[in-house]
């Protein structure tokens, strides 16, 4: 399965350079393609979109409970206890660089993040893909008791870095492939500190403001970086699949979806997601963003 996904991502990267944009012939100046994505975030993932410079963006990201635990009795997880929420603020000081801070209910993660869009896909296809680097540093905000007897402040730290390669194939289809590395300074016995993952995300527009979005993130089981002799349910995370609807207006982006992982923060998703989408472990979630231009 993993090999299949890796092959698919490699095929995507190769094929992406073979397509041309329909705007190619009429452009003399090689500008970046227009609106490669409708939002900076795509369910749990980042896109290669960075808002115009001096834009402040507020995020509200919410995950309800699992839909298959009590069914109608908790309205498919909407009224279940233990929902997760992240409130965040991003600012784009200069073109293609976005900085942000967020606070997530799960483990009270305080995250500080940065995204740099290194290159943008151009209309002439001279640059066939957009490439971005995303990274964050999070501080677990729970009380000291959660970190055992020998408490050190640095035990709270976790890190995530991701390379994103995307392409707008046509006015209605954008796809991106990701390669990620997650690290936790402190983990429970029997678990790994590091993990690598890959992912494939997409956006299918069906009107100027509306689109279908999907994601598939796969934490890999690489023995070479594992500290354990074998992978078990305890030390390996499950893939994260999500699909939903996105609507965009001048100052807002709204996404509603079903997704597998409850972590919101990507390092938690790649390390700690034990929900299995093949067994129907989905939760309803939504993201609302509000943009202000200065």
């Amino acid at each position: 399965m993993k090999r299949l996904i890796l092959n698919f991502i490699l095929a995507f990267l190769v094929i992406s350079s073979a397509f041309a944009q329909d705007t190619l012939k009429v452009k003399k100046v090689d500008k970046p393609v227009r609106s490669p994505w409708d939002s900076e975030v795509l369910i749990d993932n980042q896109t290669t979109l960075s808002p115009p410079a001096k834009t402040l963006e507020m995020f509200i990201q919410h995950r309800f409970g699992l839909i298959n635990q009590k069914g109608i009795h908790d309205l498919y997880g909407i009224y279940a206890p233990g929902a997760n929420i992240r409130l965040g603020l991003n600012y784009t000081p200069i073109k293609n660089l976005t900085l942000g801070y967020g606070l997530t209910k799960k483990n009270m993660y305080n995250d500080f993040q940065a995204k740099w869009v290194i290159v943008e896909q151009t209309r002439s296809n001279r640059i066939p893909v957009a490439v971005a680097l995303y990274g964050n540093f999070a501080i677990d905000g729970r009380s000291n008791d959660a970190f055992g007897i020998e408490y050190k402040f640095s035990n709270r730290f976790s890190y995530f870095s991701q390379l994103i390669v995307s392409r707008k194939f046509s006015e209605w289809l954008s796809l991106e492939a990701t390669a990620s590395f997650a690290h936790f300074n402190m983990v429970a016995a029997g678990r790994n500190h590091d993990n690598i993952g890959v992912g494939l995300n997409g956006q299918i527009k069906f009107s100027p403001q509306s689109s279908i979005i999907f994601q598939y993130d796969v934490p890999l089981k690489i023995q070479g970086i594992s500290e354990q002799t074998a992978f078990t349910n305890l030390n390996s995370a499950k893939p994260n699949f999500g699909i939903g609807y996105q609507d965009e207006t001048s100052g807002h982006s709204f996404q509603i979806y079903i997704t597998t992982a409850d972590g919101i923060l990507p390092q938690d998703i790649y390390m700690n997601n034990h929900n299995d989408w093949t067994k129907g472990d989905f939760m309803i979630g939504f993201t609302i963003t509000r943009l202000w231009n200065f």
Partner: protein, 143 residues
């Protein structure tokens, strides 16, 4: 018996329509004023749309109109968007001869500089070519 039930349903529906109609009458803005004359310098008036006739720009203009303009100006530019009732000034009728008589440069000024409730969109639509695309699309709303 059957006719009585149908009659009751019909009366209920009629009452509902009257109630909604009364409610709507209060929701429609009563004191919305017409926009004053735009004061635009010759510099803008003389500007020409360098992307006139470009189909790709027109397509993008339609998309941007839908994203940034439709909520006030309405899908056909009649000034009947979902937010228009909240405005103090009527957003205007893009299909009218009066509006279509503005030069491309004057429309460029309205979009990029703006005034009052019609704020500047130059920070949201950052590429000049895209702004001209919106203006090309506004021309297609002529009756």
């Amino acid at each position: 018996m059957m006719n009585k039930i149908n009659m009751n349903k019909l009366l209920g529906l009629f009452t509902l329509v009257i109630l909604l109609g009364t409610l709507m009458a209060f929701m429609i803005p009563q004191g919305q004023k017409q926009g004053a004359k735009w004061e635009i310098s010759q510099k803008y008036k003389k500007m020409v749309n360098p992307y006139k006739g470009n189909k790709s720009d027109l397509k993008m203009g339609k998309m941007l109109y839908s994203k940034y303009c439709k909520s006030c100006h309405g899908s056909k530019g009649l000034g009947d968007g979902s937010k228009s009732a909240q405005l103090k000034t009527h957003p205007g009728d893009f299909s009218s001869a009066k509006f279509q008589a503005y030069t491309d440069g004057e429309l460029y000024y309205m979009v990029t500089v703006g005034r009052d409730e019609m704020k500047s969109y130059s920070k949201k639509i950052t590429d000049d070519e895209d702004i001209w695309g919106v203006i090309s699309y506004l021309r297609t709303l002529k009756k």
